[in-house]
Symmetry: C2
Amino acid sequence: MITVDYLIEETLKKKNPSVIGLDPDISRIPDCFKQNIFDQNPLQATATVIEQWNRNIIDSIYDLVPAVKPQIAFYEKYGSYGIHALENTIQYAKEKGLLVIEDAKRNDIGNTAWAYAQAHLGKVETITEEKYSSVSVDFLTVSPFLGSEGLIPFIQICKSNGKGIFILVKTSNLGAQEIQSALTAKGLTVSEYLASYIAGQADTSLGKYGYSAIGAVVGATYPNENSALRKIMPKSYFLVPGYGAQGGTEQDVMTCFNSDGLGALINSSREILFSHTTDIEQKNISKTDYCNRVREATKYMQEKIYFALKNTCPNMLY
Amino acid sequence: MITVDYLIEETLKKKNPSVIGLDPDISRIPDCFKQNIFDQNPLQATATVIEQWNRNIIDSIYDLVPAVKPQIAFYEKYGSYGIHALENTIQYAKEKGLLVIEDAKRNDIGNTAWAYAQAHLGKVETITEEKYSSVSVDFLTVSPFLGSEGLIPFIQICKSNGKGIFILVKTSNLGAQEIQSALTAKGLTVSEYLASYIAGQADTSLGKYGYSAIGAVVGATYPNENSALRKIMPKSYFLVPGYGAQGGTEQDVMTCFNSDGLGALINSSREILFSHTTDIEQKNISKTDYCNRVREATKYMQEKIYFALKNTCPNMLY
């Protein structure tokens, strides 16, 4: 089954279009996860803690959400040890039936872009005759600064392997407009230009539910603009950061969905992962209490978004 | 010594402002490097070949160039094995006195951008009280699609650690203009807007030769526009891809330099690394012959660029 169809079926089954970021900011991971690592160097030990923390989170939420979204920067911090922890995390998430969205914002051109696309969404050449999977995930985020030439390798691999990408169109940060609102030769903003391009690619890669995995990142913090972007890209899946800690509410993200309640994935990371707000809590909380909090926060987010969708989407499918 | 000053001193000493890309495209690495790897899985074996190939290249050119530029995509392809090969390559290049420019085009905002900046240009938090270096290099390429908010963490780390970045301003590909020529609110193109921003940051981070390591990537394929960008950013170092295989000539890149013959680094990868053009050559060439070719190609590039500089720069310092 191609990725976008599996995503939709899990969303319908779990009644949840939200995903949890796996952003292991080591300074905020509770102390209970940092015990008994004596025989490793500090980088390796930290990567081990991250992997164990991820496994605990996945165990707490795998039946509630369709996907997890590891942010690769927090793994890359620890070099090859960190990437190894990421590989094991991806493997574990897949074993639990979760889709994996790797938030890497990769970007380049030519054979370099192909190398990234093969690494994250396909198989790579080796010194043997055969190709092998490396850090292969279901979805990858991609940054479009180099233009469509830099996107084509990712899009082609998605089409041939049934995988997905979310191309940055309108990011959730305050200063996003500096470049993303500039006017292109055709009189469109950069965001609109990218949206049109993505819509054209999406039309030729639809799954059985009429959606495409050639998708877009649009921030939760722009409800009006997202409504316009939704119209330009009716069939593309949206990945929506900026909910929760960054200020976007469940009402704000409603414009990212179609009338069937599909078409968007709302991400939350910090609000789910780091609800312990004081140093004392971080020091004293037990694994069981921490995991329960993560699960409850995930459920609470599902309920809020599901309730808003029920009240907003006339043709809600779930 | 801060990185930009060391870079200038090595450029003066070696009479060479060119750098060699370490882009291990495994399908083009000669067969002589692929022997006797029996006991490793294919991903690990390929990473081992890449590391050995890199060591041979570094041995062949370390006295000729100020820096090498590994393209991380070709290492990321092989997951944690590939990143381990990159770490060892970086370490080896540093031991040989070379500066390392990591071409990673990283981009994000907030604590994610900080994570990337710490990983590549600084030290990272661990579960111990101390911070440690991970894949730390001298220069990193950064992509600016998220606006200045996404650049600030990298710039701050450069300023505090004496490191450098090259921010994508005008890339060498044909379709670069799609986004990079769009008009921002102030009537500047995206490239000009970024150049102005970089110039402002460069002014507050000058080394003893009057140059800043808050730099820009500008493609060799736009001599006229580069002349204008040079005027906007007189003190920033430029990293210039697109020379050689991508069509830029030594005359094209002259507009990237100041009249002292400094201010730009010209990169070549494929023309230096893969001068064997037929399958038969790739199969039969010996390590010694291959390394000699890499060294000769590096010398030839140095001679062509140095000759052009001597004829172009009235205040040439070397």
